[in-house]
Symmetry: C2
Subunit: 248 residues, 2 copies
């Protein structure tokens, strides 16, 4: 039986933008586990299976309910230990926490100040009231004020990605030659921005963008199947033997 996952959605049910839900979806795919997602909205607290903490992701696996993305990753690693590891052992798990803490104190903090108003635009009226009130209290400013100078802040945001950039310039994934849960944590943050905002946070030639493309390609392009803003228009397939290299 497939695992069920409650997944944050916008007004369009297909628009899935929670960074924490993306972590869990990629972890399930990494383990090769089938999942059926249930679109869920911020204010539907009473629709979640118990126990929960009022947020998603929550998964239901047979008679087990697990909530919180970190707990879900630990659950999957332990209960599906014979499948590809999310952490690569105890040291990998410990270091994944550092990547998570960087993502949550630097990357997501920087991103939210670029896209928070776009999130508000994509959610339904009931969620909009909840979202605006809770976020404006957190920022001490209106959502419009938070994003107002985002163009001016973009260079500093991009500079803050230096540790990530240098890493994925020198190896294919954050975790080395193959992706692990640390990649999904970082990816979840970018997927959040990408699903909800037309504001392109990464320059076209940024190695971070190339890495994001590699993660989007994983598991049959799982990350590309949700509506997003940054996809280039499909180009016709090149003729066989036509040169692909070089820029013009």
């Amino acid at each position: 039986m497939a695992i069920t996952m409650y997944d944050l959605a916008g007004t369009e049910a297909a628009r899935r933008f929670s960074p924490f839900c993306w972590r869990a979806k990629m972890a399930l795919a990494h383990k090769g586990l089938a999942v059926e997602t249930v679109p869920w909205h911020f204010t539907e607290k009473d629709k979640l299976p118990t126990p929960n903490d009022g947020r998603v992701p929550v998964i239901v696996d047979g008679d087990r309910v697990v909530h919180d993305s970190t707990a879900i990753a630990d659950y999957l690693e332990q209960h599906y230990a014979d499948r590809p590891s999310l952490f690569g052992g105890d040291t990998g798990r410990g270091l994944t926490r550092f990547v998570q803490n960087w993502t949550e104190t630097v990357l997501q903090v920087g991103l939210v100040r670029l896209v928070v108003l776009d999130i508000w635009r994509h959610i339904g009226p009931a969620d909009q009231d909840y979202f605006r009130k809770s976020r404006e209290e957190r920022f001490g400013a209106s959502l419009e004020e938070v994003v107002r100078d985002r163009e001016a802040r973009l260079p500093a945001f991009r500079a803050s990605l230096d540790p990530l950039r240098r890493t994925v310039e020198r190896q294919p994934f954050v975790a080395g030659n193959s992706p692990s849960y640390a990649d999904y944590i970082v990816f979840g943050a970018f997927q959040w921005a990408r699903a909800i905002s037309e504001f392109e946070v990464l320059a076209a030639d940024d190695p971070v963008r190339a890495w994001r493309g590699r993660v989007l390609d994983l598991y049959g392009g799982l990350g590309r199947r949700a509506p997003a803003y940054d996809e280039p228009p499909p180009s016709p397939p090149p003729h066989a033997g036509e040169g692909q290299g070089g820029g013009s």
Copy 2:
């Protein structure tokens, strides 16, 4: 036969302050390998064994010469594979690169602007000329100008440690329950500041400082044996049964 390591020293031969040499010394201790260090100064390029790139650390292990701290860690992991692992596997090695890139683009960049003038004060006259010239070219400012407003910049520096702080608040080491090479990379940066400057970069109650203390305690207090500035005066041992908890 013990491994020989060329180790950056100040005017006092015992003052060892290279962050990269600290990485290598801790890695050697982690592997349980005996080492004899040779104090070396910035301008003694011709005293290094070949091959080298004019910098330390360089180690000599029998008839092998290995230079560059990252190459040394990889060498030790491969050639002493039966001893405790520095990385805990491929994922751990990949994620260690992220910690290294954070250390080199955030932590060391922040630290050098706090302590660079103190480094200059601790090295010999020949090294002082070389050091001032090369660093002032890099900064585009005199060493005095670089550190002038360091008190004002301290809060931002401490805030930049959030990913590290949150990690070592929640687990004993950067790598989890036990230390690995990622811990030594971060530790090397703090040891550099600590060996060369009386300027305390960490608040007394900072969890990062408690973590640094745990790493200083490793391997018989290896990191404490070098001259440093931040050691509290030795306090008398508490009477047996005297309460240790609580603050006053």
